[in-house]
Amino acid sequence: MQQGGGSETEVTWEDQQNINKFGRLNNRLHELEDEIKVSKETNENLEDASNELILTDEDVVRFQIGEVFAHVPKDEVESRIEQMKEVTSKKLEGLEEEKDSVVAQMAELKKILYGKFKDSINLEED
């Protein structure tokens, strides 16, 4: 929090709660960005895997379950990968939605806080 030049703007409990909420949202935003990155990577990997699968001519594929690679027939692997892709896509959608909501809420709070405190407060990413 930037230290202002001795201005007299009073900080009310409501202001403090807004500042706290902004902090929480900012943290959540960073977490979401990381989770989205991981989700996107997983999605790409699954895409690559299913592409490789189409190219291969073996009927038995070593599919990782837990720590071991089980011998699974190609068809089953295909459907498993499709299922995993669906789950990851849904998760990614949910994360993006949450991120949009968080960004919107942060913009609202910025307006309110800058409106009251102007230069005495710094809400930007360093």
Partner: protein
């Protein structure tokens, strides 16, 4: 674990051993009530901030552990489910597993009604597939619940940190303002 809260005016509740930061309505009143001068007050608040940071690091480490544990348990649930599914077809499951780093071997897993679960502390117990699934699910739920509580703790902690940082800034600004007023007062006294 119930969260204990002893509420006093505005936000000085404590949560599971983490002291709440008292919100300061008015800096002058706060300094009078605590009987501290500006520098002592700032020192006290800075120390509080350090304590909060320590607790935050501890909680973050616990969070990382839990976040690693949960996918592990999910993988185990997956394996047991696969074994159960294979049991119904009557075929053996052939799997490649890691013997040592980079070295894999093939295993043929026959039908089996039971699995062994590693419980930690060099203890491994045999369970039926159903019991194993139940136990693993319970562990998964517990881990997820603990994670939720931990996340709430961290949010509470971060709020207290923010309140303390804002209070430090306000006390400092108040002091600067007071000095300015005194300067103006003494310079106008000199002029007259």
């Amino acid at each position: 674990m119930a969260s204990s809260s002893s509420s006093t005016p505005h936000g000085a509740t404590e949560r599971r051993g983490i002291p709440g930061a008292q919100f300061v309505e008015d800096v002058q009143t706060y300094l009078n009530q605590s009987g501290l001068d500006v520098n002592s007050a700032l020192a006290f608040l800075q120390e509080r901030l350090q304590q909060y940071k320590l607790v935050e690091m501890k909680l973050l480490a616990q969070q990382r552990d839990l976040q690693a544990k949960i996918p592990d348990i999910e993988k185990c649930v997956d394996v047991v489910a696969t074994l159960q599914a294979k049991k119904d077809t009557g075929e053996a499951l052939i799997a490649d597993f890691e013997v040592s780093e980079g070295i894999y071997s093939r295993a043929r897993i026959e039908d089996s009604d039971s699995v062994c679960l590693w419980l930690g502390a060099n203890v491994m117990l045999e369970y039926s597939c159903e019991e194993a699934t139940a136990l693993l699910q319970k562990n998964l739920e517990n881990a997820k619940a603990s994670l939720e509580v931990l996340v709430a703790d961290l949010q509470f902690l971060r709020d207290q940190v923010t309140i303390t940082q804002v209070t430090i800034a306000r006390v400092y600004n108040w002091d600067v303002h007071q000095r300015r007023l005194r300067q103006v007062a003494t310079s106008s006294a000199d002029d007259s």
